[in-house]
Structures are given as C-alpha cells and as structure tokens.
Amino acid sequence: MTTRWFGARVQRAEDDRLLRGRGRFTDDIDEGALESVLVRSPYAHARINSIDVSAARAMSGVVAVYTAQDLPFGGTDLPILIPHPNLTHGRTQRCLASEVVRYAGEAVVFVVAESRAIAEDAAELVEVDYEPLPVVITPETAARAEHLVHDDVPGNVAAEMVQEKGNVAAALESAPRRKHFHFRYERGAASPMEARAVWARWSDGERKLTVYDSTQSPTSIRGGLAVLFGLPESQVDVIAPDVGGGFGPKIMLFYPDELLVPYAAMQLGRPVKWTEDRQEHFTAVNQERGQVHEVDVGYDDGGRVLAFDDDFIHDGGAYTPYGIILPIITAGQLPGPYRVPNYRVRFRDMYTNATPTSPYRGAGRPHACFVMERTLDAIAADVGIDRAEVRRRNLIQPDEFPYDVGVGWQDGNTVVYDSGNYPKLLETALEKLGPKPAGENVGMGLGMYVEGTGVGPYEGAHVQVLVSGKVVAATGIPSQGQAHATVWAQVVADELGVDVRDVEITSGDTRRFPWGVGTFASRGAVTAGNAMHVAARMVAEKAKKIAADHLEADPADLELVAGAVRVKGSPQRGIPLAAVAVLSNPVRYAFGGGTEAATQFTPKARPGPPLADGEEPGLEATGYFSPAGSAWASGCHAAWLRVDPKTYRLEILKYVVVHDCGKVINPMVVEGQIEGGVAQGIGGAFYERLAYDSDGQLRNASFMEFLMPYATEIPKIDIEHIETPSPLNPLGVKGVGEAGVIPVGAVIGSGIEDALGIPITEMPLSPLRLYELSTSASTSTSTR
C-alpha cells in the first residue's frame, strides 16, 4: 500500500467550522425545543418520604413534571453494562429515585417548561421530604461497613475478585527482602469543557425519534432507546454532534436525562432539550480513581521483584452501572512493563454514597501505575541503586513478546502484551531528560506504563466513492476532539489513491453508520481506523474489478493513484475513480463529474445481466475490524521538578515523554493527545481534588475551587515517538488517547519525594498537603 498520508502531519479537516463558531454542539440545537431541568437530591443518603410536585405543575409555563411513578419505566432498574460473575451484588439506580437516594446529585424529578428559567423556577417549587440516613463516603468507611449503602448488600461489597500467578505466599516467604506499603489515590473528575446535553424530537408522522446527545456512544444509546420505547432501531436516530470533550464519563447507559428527554419529546409532541450546568456536572456525572492499596512486595538484593501481593479496595460509588471494569483493569495492569514472577491481586469493589464511577481517561491505570512505580522507587532506595537501574533490572525484554502477565483482562481473555521495547523507552527518556538542573529542592520523577488499547468487540466503516470522485466515509464512533475526520481520511485516502482533502468523514451518527460500540478505552484508531482501512481496501478492489472490465486488463495489474485506476507502469491507461463510480451503478441516468468520462466506456457490453450474480451497485463497501486482543501501548515519562520549600509551589522544570503507540497515523494529532493527557494528569496530581465531606457533600463543585490548571501551570512537554507496530491489526497501530495521563501521578509523586525527601504514597497532592506531610510526624499515612 502507499503510505503517502499515513504518518504525515496532515492539518485537521474539522478546524474550519470550529474556528468560525460554526460548530454544532448539542446545546446549539434549538428548533423551538422545550427546556428541562432535573431536581436532584441534596442528600448523599436519604429515604424519600414524599414528593410534592403540585405547585411546580401549576406554575404558568410548565409543560410537564415527571416523578418515577409518572414513567412507564420508572420502576425499572437501569442496566448493568458489563455484567461479570464476580459482580455478585451489582446495583443500578432508577431513572428517577422514589424510595432512597444514595448520592448527592441523584435525579428525583424532571421538569419540562417553555423556557429554562421557568423550569428552574418550577424545580424550586418541588417539595421532597427526605429522611437523612447514615453516609458512607470513603472506601475505607465502606469497608468497615458500620453503615450500608444498600440494605441488601452485606459489607458494602459489590464484587470481590482474587487472581494469582505463581505462588505468592511462598515467594514472599523466601524473598531476601520484603516491604509493606499503603497507597491511597482519591477520586478525580474528567471535567470536559462542555457539560452534557440531550435534545430529542419525536415525529409522529414518520414515527421517528431523533436524539442529539453529547455521548461517546450513540450506537449504544440508540439500541437502548429502541428497546425501551418498543421501536425498531430503524425508527431511532442518535447523533453525537460536536462533543466538547469526553474523557470517559460521557459514555453511560444511561444517564437519566438520556431517557427522560426522548420520553418527554414523545409524550409532549414537541422537541425537548436538557443542558447540564457546571455545578450539577460535578455530582451527576461519573467520577473515578478512588482506591486504597495494601502491598506486600518481596525482592532480592539486586532489587529484582520476586513476589507482589496487592489487596485493594475500589471506591465504586453508589451504583455499579459499569460493572467492575475499573478494578479489573487496575488488577490487570498493575505489573506494568515489569516481570513479576509471582503476582497475587485481590480487590473488593465498595459501595459508597458518592457519584457512581466509570472510566475516566486512564481508567484504573493511573492508580495501578502509581502503586507499582512508587514501590519500585522504594525498592531502589532500599537496595541502594538508582531509580532507573531498578527499572532496568525488572523490565520485560523485547524478545519476550507476546508476554503473558497471567491475570484476567477486561475483554475476558488474559493480559498478553503483544509488542513493545520497554528498555528503549527508558533509555531514551533518560537521555532526553538530561542532567539534574542546578538549584535546591529539585527532584527527578520517573514513571513507566503499559496500556492495553483497542479493545473489541469491533467497529465498522462504510466507504463510498461518489460520482463526483469525492469520497465519503462513516463510522459509528463519535469524536470528542480526537481528529477522527482527519486521521480516518488519511487511512482511506491511502487505500483509494485520492487526496486526503477529497475524503469526508462522518462519525457518531447512526443515520450514516448504525453499528459499533463507542469512543473509549483508547480504541478509536485500532478499531475504527482499521475498519476504515478494511472498507477502503474493499472499495479499491471493487474499483479495480470494474475498471478491469473496461480497460481490458487484469485487476492485479491495476493501481489506484491520483484519483484514477491505472495500469501499473502505463499511467496513460486509466479511468478516473469518478467514472468508475458511475460505471458501478448500471442505470440510464447520470449526473456528475464522472459521467462524461464514463460514457465512453458504457457502450461496452458484456454477456449476462448488467448486475452479475454477487455484484452490488455503487462504488462502496462496508467493512469491520474486530481485534483478536488488545494492542499494548507503552511509555516512559521523566521529569525534573522543583518544590518551593516555603510555599510548596510545584515547578516542573522539564517533562519528557517517550511513548510507543505503534505506527503513528498523524504525529501532530498524537502529540496533541499526549500533551493534553499530561496536562490532565498534572491537574489530577497536584491541583484538582474532589473535596467530599463526611456527609457526602462535594464542597468544591465549581471551577473556582476545583482547580483545573491554566496554561501557567502546565510546562512544555518534550515528546518522542518509538514505533513498535502492533502485530494484531493491519495498520500496526495502538491507541494513544489515554496514554498521556497514566504515569503522571507516579512521576509527580516520585519527583516530589526526591525533591523534599518525604515519602509520597497518596494522590492528589497540593501545597497544603505537602505542608502537612512535611510537618507531621507520621509522614506516610493519610490524615483522612
């Protein structure tokens, strides 16, 4: 294949309209829609004694007010997306709570009105009589089980899982050296700049439901709505238009509004919209990362890990709509790029009276990475070698792939690393980092990671050459800024021999491509990217076959170059792709650029019917790609940082990323993903903290107090790509969406420990927390 566009810094196709203010985000869509708001529980745990909506209903301008009992599906538990045999006590919320609320922010009443202002005013007239119940807010209090989040879930344990490779007890017993560690990682929030929004319209004449949803998975939303409302899937269109960042939490089946807005639109016969405000986004949208780990590690005098035993609890939140995928990922990725001959991991997924959890960029990995990397730093200190050397001695070597870690993976198989060159990542990062800068309180942060990317089950793509010669292509997964319209065009353009600017991509619109799963888990390039490649190649083969008939050539002698199908070695013998598109559809009308070129060929008759057996009209194809296993990306981050000994202000002097996401489709886009990921990691490591109090109230639900970094907090990131192609997909790509964020907590923790000489075993940090740690006698235990 030609690789003219693959690998090039192609500028983005999606920029122009976004830069002109012509993007189309869900809240930009109006069309006379009624507006709505949700009344949410102010309590983290309470029994609902009564709900009185009479005053709200009576208010002028209010169109409808729904409680659970007003909904035909009001008594139905929402689905568990990914059931698992170890999820013995899975619980999900209902669309609107009517008996018990289990987190502050849980939806109780839905108000629809002529305007947002009226809906807000009416929501304030809703009277709910709550009887507060004891609150379980941290995973540690959940584990103590003095109070229960769900009456029928003993011990607050949703799931428990134990996995073991080798014989950990024996290996720990015989290890020359052994240490115990306690690590604590708190919840974080993705906080995309666009909060969530849903718009829906029901057309009675067409019996068609159209939904615009800022979701990462319109195909799944469509499937769910069709079942819920008893409609054929063909009568439900779900479109994720421009989506202002996702980072994981915008994929859920379902947030209550995703059912309520379409339902109200069907009931009321008018479009209905709902747009989340920033404050409710803080508590209504899933969070992640809360875990507490107890680690026993055994190693030899050279710092080689012999046995690793981790027992951790995971803060699942009030419900488990996403199953136990997060702790499974943590357990599977904890060993990272290192040989751990004996590994045991036990986790318990704990219910707490906090917002439910589901993957947030990194999804179980930043905490896993923190645990492993901080442990290695401690081993290095104990045996007296430097922190690079301890990693060097434990890394899996390039000749050991495929490498079986020996524990389970999120796709149901075991964790098997497909490819990589971990020593090269480390050595390149150290080289790029350079010598220690001058000055006091300067420390080196170091962290390595692996990431299982591109999980299945599959994605698909449709590619069509139009009679104009332009190419349109569509896939089911939507974009939240990852440049799908550019990178898929690069893949398609290479196969079809056309200019990348002649390929127009549609993503996340079930009208154009109804099958697929969603944009999450760093899987877009692997799954949809390869599906585009497969579909485009099918189109190319079809074009060659049609052109061969007319050029009287063997298809094997043809190539697609410069917008034409040509005989290899005889560029003058060719037919424009536009003409092939016309010829692919044997009818007697024609418009378009290819027609004239095609007419000289159309008289050429061939025996049999115009459309032979097995032939389909149109120069188009639908292709799918379903990976056999995850493509394992990897990387090493290294940093010099300085901590002010008086103010504990963090200054990152140099930050280096050396990473391997396989073949790079567009370096500019990949660098953007890395830079954004690192920034999000820095925010989560040192600036952002979800400050829940013991009553389960989030005390800082605003950007005034949840300190997302501005440009002034984020350093320049020095990036190098190492390409070890994945053998598991035709393009050789691995995902990169989450990579940037994964080791940042470990790197910042490592660097601060080195700079200040105090053990860092928790995340996030802050100037205040560093002050506390530096001044307290017990430096390694959380005060919480």
Binding site: M193, G245, E675, M704
Partner: protein, 181 residues
C-alpha cells in the same frame, strides 16, 4: 448594541445574560458557555475590542457598545482571521469547545501586546481553560498569530504595550494554586 457590526435591539428580558442573549436570542452559538461563573473563559467576546466574559454581564450592560463574537472575525466564510489561521496551523484546538473563547482572548492579547513574551502569552491565555490540548499548541498558535498579524499591524510597538491587561480575569486571580503572582 452592535454585534459584529450590526445593530440589534435591546433584549426584552433585563435579566438576560449577554452569553444567553448572543446564543439564544441572536443565534450566535459560537460563543460557548462552559461554567457560567466566569472561570473557564469559553464565553469570551470582545466588548469595544477588549475581551470580556459574556456570562458575567447582563445583555443590557452591552447597550451602546460594540460586541464582537467569534462569528464576527471572518464573516461570511471569508479568509480566516490570522488568530484563527494560527490555531489551525498549530493544532491549537481539539474538541473546539473552548476555542472561540481562546481566539477572542488572543485577539485581545495581541492587540495589547503585538509581540508578546512567553510570559505575556501564558498570562494572556491564563483566563481560559482548555481540557484537551494541554496548552502547548495554543502557546504556539499565539506566537504564530503574532507573526501572521505583524505585516497587518500598521505601527507595531517593538517592545509590546505595557498598558492595562485587556483580559477580564477578575475571577481567575485566586485560581490555580500554582499561578504565578
């Protein structure tokens, strides 16, 4: 008030925010609303040429003033404004939600400091949050925009102006634990 050069009647509701007025009454949905408490900067527009947060203003406060929104920078599909062009060239946007606010802030920044130092760039965009890019590409875009604008600026001050900061960052003063004083 004038919006992108055209006169518009005052909003009928005196409580209407300028951001809501632009988006919902005038249909100028390029101005985005990210937090509605003046921190994220997504809603930044120019008021008489200076960046302001349209979510912190009532629409009636803009009476008698010139408002420029993102739609007014390159009207009618004309060539991109140099700042927009620079964001495109430097991959200064991913999801595009914060982008209009950034672009308007940078237009204001470069009007004040046509040749900004690195620190002026950081300070100039430190009232806008971006969750996608990590800011590196936005910094490059500001520098690039200064280059693209240079031939268009009749009399650029070689040192850059040192006047009042154009950006309304009143709400970001206490933000970001690591923000430089």
């Amino acid at each position: 008030m004038k919006v992108n050069g055209f006169a518009h009647p005052a909003p009928s509701d005196p409580r209407r925010l300028l951001s809501d007025h632009l988006r919902h009454d005038l249909g100028l949905t390029g101005t985005h609303v990210g937090c509605e408490h003046g921190v994220c900067g997504c809603c930044t527009v120019l008021l008489d040429g200076a960046p302001v947060r349209s979510c912190l203003m009532l629409a009636v406060q803009a009476e008698g003033h010139d408002v420029t929104t993102i739609e007014g920078l390159a009207p009618g599909g004309s060539q991109l404004h140099p700042v927009q062009q620079a964001f495109h060239e430097c991959h200064g946007l991913q999801c595009g939600f914060c982008t209009p606010g950034f672009v308007m802030s940078v237009v204001g920044l470069l009007a004040q400091h046509p040749h900004p130092t690195e620190e002026q760039v950081d300070e100039g965009i430190a009232g806008n949050l971006c969750r996608c890019t990590g800011y590196a590409s936005i910094r490059r875009a500001v520098t690039r925009a200064a280059v693209l604008l240079a031939p268009l600026t009749p009399d650029p001050s070689p040192l850059g102006g040192e006047g009042a900061n154009p950006a309304d960052r009143s709400s970001s003063g206490g933000e970001g634990a690591g923000t430089s004083p």
